[in-house]
């Protein structure tokens, strides 16, 4: 069943495959984010209560969704690395961690900037905000463990265990606003059911979300390729590749 996947466990094949994806992701990112941000900032009508400050929604929500999404991706990579001992899975987990940390930081920062005028406070220790902050610390821990060992296999194992343990935080973040009384409001957009916003506000959000997805895929591909090269520096294929690459 998984036969088609097997060639991609080879570093060389994966390296060239992600290299082909990068130009597509970069072009899509520019197109989608330009359309999405201009649409969201200039043409979407202001909210009836918050006025223009609601527009931060178009950065905050995609960043927050992806901070959790990347974490799940990283945990799946960690699981396959621990169980099937695929070395490339470690490289991809190491590539994803900093990107996820940045997305978490963006979500926390934009949330604080929006909370000040809307709620009246930058920060409050409610369940949603606190669990998202814990997610940032988990990311930082995973990054630190990846860099703490000279031996990359050992580092991958340690970081993988932490990312798997931390995965219990993801449902807590997602459902915190339903399980407890929080200052943070419930989800406006979710995968099931209609969004709690009018369609003229919803469409630019989808464009921005897709733009963010392409952006992180682009950055993760670049980081993944660097990890693969660094981890296989002694292999003949890397030497041949580096010798023949054009210097620009």
């Amino acid at each position: 069943m998984w036969k088609w996947l097997h060639p991609y466990a080879n570093p060389e094949v994966s390296y060239h495959f992600t290299g082909k994806l990068i130009p597509w992701f970069s072009k899509l990112t520019f197109v989608l984010l330009t359309i999405g941000i201009i649409w969201a900032l200039l043409f979407v009508p202001a909210d009836y209560q918050q006025g223009n400050s609601f527009r931060i929604f178009y950065l905050h929500v995609p960043a927050a969704m992806l901070s959790m999404g990347i974490y799940v991706g990283m945990a799946i990579a960690a699981l396959s690395s621990l169980v099937w001992q695929i070395k490339l899975a470690d490289a991809s987990a190491a590539a994803m961690a900093p990107v996820g940390a940045v997305m978490t930081a963006i979500a926390l920062f934009t949330g604080a900037a929006w909370g000040r005028p809307t709620w009246g406070t930058w920060w409050i220790w409610d369940a949603r905000l606190t669990s998202e902050l814990i997610l940032l610390f988990l990311y930082l821990g995973v990054i630190a463990l990846h860099n703490a060992f000279e031996d990359k296999t050992l580092a991958g194992k340690a970081a993988g265990i932490l990312s798997l343990v931390g995965v219990v935080n993801i449902p807590i973040i997602k459902y915190s606003v339903e399980w407890w009384n929080t200052l943070h409001q419930g989800s406006t957009v979710s995968k099931l059911g209609a969004p709690s916003m009018s369609s003229e506000m919803y469409w630019p959000f989808l464009v921005c979300l897709l733009g963010f997805v392409c952006f992180i895929s682009w950055v993760i591909c670049i980081r993944f390729r660097n990890e693969v090269l660094a981890r296989n520096a002694m292999r003949p294929w890397v030497r041949d590749y580096v010798k023949n690459v054009e210097v620009r």
């Binding site: 979407v44 009508p45 202001a46 909210d47 009836y48 209560q49 918050q50 609601f54 929604f57 699981l79 621990l82 169980v83 099937w84 005028p117 809307t118 709620w119 009246g120 406070t121 409050i124 220790w125 409610d126 369940a127 798997l164 343990v165 995965v167 219990v168 807590i172 399980w179 407890w180 009384n181 929080t182 200052l183 409001q185 419930g186 989800s187 406006t188 709690s196 916003m197 009018s198 003229e200 506000m201």
Partner: protein, 161 residues
């Protein structure tokens, strides 16, 4: 799957299940404390499953909807008094300070302060809770949810509050 991989998978999954169980139990045990606020109904009748009521003098947060027509402003200072309601119970909030922009009648509000009487809270901080609904002004107007800014006296506006 070969036996070694199967063993590793079993170990990883059982560790995960164990941690999930522990965290679940911890959160369940803490569930009352993770709630950010009491609702007026909970202040009067106690929390749903434990029946814990706040005592007078305790610092708590109370969250509810501002009762229409209950907002009384002092003309000479920033002192303001209003009622919060939820499930038919009403609490009075006294506050001396600047209210958030979203404050208005019918809005969800969280007040942080100490309980000076069974249903009176002296707040040191008032936060507006926003709901998950976003809509343009035209749609809100057609639904009859137009936003009214809080009314300040001329003196307060002069002072720049």
């Amino acid at each position: 799957m070969n036996p070694r991989r199967k063993k590793r998978l079993t170990i990883v999954l059982s560790v995960l299940a164990g941690i999930g169980l522990i965290i679940g139990l911890v959160l369940y045990a803490l569930s009352q404390n993770i709630d950010l606020f009491y609702t007026p109904y909970e202040v009067v009748h106690g929390k749903d499953d434990t029946g814990v009521k706040p005592t007078i003098g305790q610092r708590i947060r109370v969250g509810g909807l501002v009762v229409a027509g209950s907002v009384k402003r002092d003309e000479d200072s920033l002192k303001v008094q209003f009622d919060l309601t939820n499930k038919g119970e009403i609490m009075t909030i006294k506050y001396d300070g600047i209210l958030p922009d979203l404050f208005r009648e019918g809005q969800g509000i969280i007040a942080n302060g100490s309980l000076i009487d069974q249903t009176v809270l002296e707040a040191s901080e008032v936060l507006a809770k926003h709901d998950e609904n976003y809509m343009p002004k035209e749609i809100a107007d057609s639904l009859g949810e137009g936003h009214e800014a809080p009314k300040y006296s001329d003196e307060q506006l002069e002072k720049g509050y």
